[in-house]
Amino acid sequence: MPWSDEACLQTMKDVNGFIVEGADTFLKKEYTYLTYFCIVFAVVLVCAVDMPWAENEAGVQLLFPWTTFAFLIGAFTSMLCGYIGMKVATTANVKTTYLCASQDINAGFDVAFKGGQVLGFVLVGLSLLVLEILILSYKPFVVTEKNDKHTEEGGKIVQQQVRVLFEYISGYGLGGSTVALFGRVGGGIYTKAADVGADLAGKVTHGLQEDSPLNPGTIADNVGDNVGDIAGMGADLFGSLAESTCAALVVSATSLEMVNHTDAIYFPLVITATGVIVSFITQWFAKLDLKVDQKLFY
C-alpha cells in the first residue's frame, strides 16, 4: 500500500491517536500520585528541614518554609518539562514516520531534530528562569543583615545568610530529582512490562510479527517509550541540571572570596546560559544528507 494512500494515512493517524491517548492517561495518573507524594514529602521537609518555628543557622526566624516551597516549585517545573516533551514527541513521531516514508529520510530527520530541540531549549530556559527568579525573590527575605556600619562581624553575618539562602534554594534541585526518579522508573517499568507482555502474547502465542499493529501490546509498548524515555528523560535532564547548579551554588556560597565577588557566584548559571547560545549555533550544522531508495519502504 503506498504511503500517500488515504487509508494508510488514516491508519497512521489512528495508531498515533491511541498512543497519544495512552500517554496522556498514563502521565495524568502518574502525576496525580506524584502530587500526593510531593505533598507528603513537603510536610516532612517542613518538619525536618525548614522548621519555620525555630531560628535558622543565621540566627533569624523566618516564618515561611523556604526549602519546601523551592522543592514544590522544582517538582512542578520538572513535571511541566516532562509533559511538554511528551506532547511534542507524540506529535513529532507520526510526522517523522510519514515524512521518512512518503518523502525522504532527510525531511524526517529535520522534524525529529526540531521535536528534540523543543524539549531541550524549553527545559534549559525554564530551569534558568525559575532558578533565577527564586534567588531574586528569596534574597530580600533571607539576606536581611544591612551591615550599615561596615563591620567585619556584620559582613560575616551577611555571608552566612547568603549560604543559608542557597541551602534553601537547593530544595529546587531536590524537587526536580524526585519527579525525575518516579518519571524514569515508573515509565521504564511500564514499557518493559508492555514489551514483554506484547512479545509473549503476540509473538509466542499468536505468531504475530514484532511491533505488529494487530497486537494491542504494541500500543502499550509505544506509550511506555513515550512516557519513560521522553517524559521521564525530560524530568531527569531537568533534575540533573537543577541539582548540579544548586550544588555548585551551595558550595560556592561557603567561600568568602566567591561571596565577595558576586559575579563568581552566578558562574554556574552563566555557564548554562552560554550553553544555550552554543546549542543554538551548533544546531544549524546538524544536517542529514542520505540517499535512500524509497522503494525499500513498500
Binding site: 511534542v88 526540531k114 521535536g115 530541540q117 523543543v118 524539549l119 531541550g120 531549549f121 524549553v122 534549559v124 530556559g125 525554564l126 534558568l128 528562569l129 533565577e132 534567588i135 531574586l136 534574597k139 539576606v143 536581611t144 543583615e145 544591612k146 551591615n147 550599615d148 561596615h150 563591620t151 567585619e152 556584620g154 559582613g155 560575616k156 551577611v158 555571608q159 545568610q161 547568603v162 539562602l165 568568602l256 561571596v259 565577595n260 565577588h261 558576586t262 559575579d263 557566584i265 552566578y266 558562574f267 548559571l269 552563566v270 548554562t272 546560559a273 552560554t274 544555550v276 547560545i277 543554538f280
Partner: protein, 37 residues
C-alpha cells in the same frame, strides 16, 4: 571588596550575570516555542 563592605544590598547583586541568565533563558524558551510552530 573586603568582608566588612558586604551588605544586604550588594550581596549576590551581580552587575551583568543577571542579564545574561535572563536573556539566554527567555531566548531558549522562545526558540523552543518557535520550533513547535
Amino acid at each position: 571588596m573586603s568582608i566588612a563592605n558586604l551588605t544586604a544590598a550588594n550581596a549576590i547583586q551581580s552587575t551583568y550575570s543577571h542579564w545574561i541568565i535572563f536573556g539566554c533563558g527567555v531566548f531558549a524558551l522562545l526558540w523552543g516555542v518557535i520550533q513547535i510552530i
